[in-house]
Amino acid sequence: MNMTVFLFWVIAGMTGACAIATVVTHNIVRAATWLLFTLGGASALFFLIGADLVGAIQLLVYVGGTLVLVVFGVMLTAQGPFISMRTSSAEWGVSAATGIALLAVLLLATFPHVPLGPPAQEGAKAPEPVVAFAPKPVEIEPRTSPFTMIIGQGFTGVGVGPAHRDPNARPKLAEAPKVPASGQFAPDVEPAPMPAPEAPVMRTHYLLPFEIVSIHLLVVLIGAAYLALTKRRREEVV
């Protein structure tokens, strides 16, 4: 068995088991701890697939920032009866049935060679399986990711991503009549048409979304601080 395949199954099994444990535990402190392991497993999956930057940022921001926020919320509110709140078994049944049905639908959509729709008639031609895009079979091997620098360039305004040429942006320089320098037309000497210069290669860059998301995060954090403060002020009044 390939080492990568073995690692994938170990990490994926651990992540899935921790996610299920997050759901089934009653204790909110334990749920937060299981969430920690789930997020760590997801980041290990990112490293395994070759997305180093996303895995590192997942560890830094998600595990180091968001999860600490959640744990602080648990610490500030976990008192007496609120640590372990049990859900009635009827609710559990309905939720589990909904979850299993949802998982079945998602798996049917994931594996498109499972035939969907009405059964084919006898003698009718079997319908071609509909595949939105056929992913190239890429051998997942541990490798050094070149994407960190590319993504950083995209965030600072350098064009990244697949190149494409806009056919409408072709300059119309070739259609201008060629006038000889002497000002007289030489009818029998056809001037060779200039080759039209290629339209410039267009790539997307992500400077504007990056700035928008930065300002958005700043506004959100200020708003969160304000939301958490106002009630204390009201308490003093009352």
């Binding site: 996610a19 996303v54 997942q58 998982l103």
Partner: protein
């Protein structure tokens, strides 16, 4: 051989766990944990698409990074709301939050 389907399966599993977590937890912070699970499932899908679809190579990772930032902001706001709810009502049970019930 690990293909796209395997990663999509893990993403779907995390998503469903998050939805069930949101539906069953009575603790408001438990609901928030469910939201985090859902966002992580979506992130795994995005990164897997970016790895297996060459036309989506950079964009998938950039979208995953934006999702991570949005999740951080969302967790901050949700925790602020939960804390102010706790300060006002001395409870964190979402079933007790029925002031807006029609």
């Amino acid at each position: 051989m690990i293909g796209l389907e395997h990663y999509l399966f893990i993403g779907a599993l995390l998503f469903v766990c998050g939805v069930v977590c949101m539906a069953t937890k009575r603790n408001a912070i438990g609901v928030l944990i469910g939201v985090e699970l859902v966002l992580n499932g979506a992130n795994i899908n995005l990164v897997a698409f970016s790895r297996f679809n060459p036309a989506f190579e950079i964009e998938g990772m950039i979208m995953a990074l934006f999702v991570i930032v949005m999740a951080a902001g969302e967790a901050a706001v949700a925790l602020a709301i939960v804390l102010s709810f706790y300060n006002n009502h001395q409870t964190i049970d979402v079933d007790q939050a029925e002031e807006l019930k029609g």
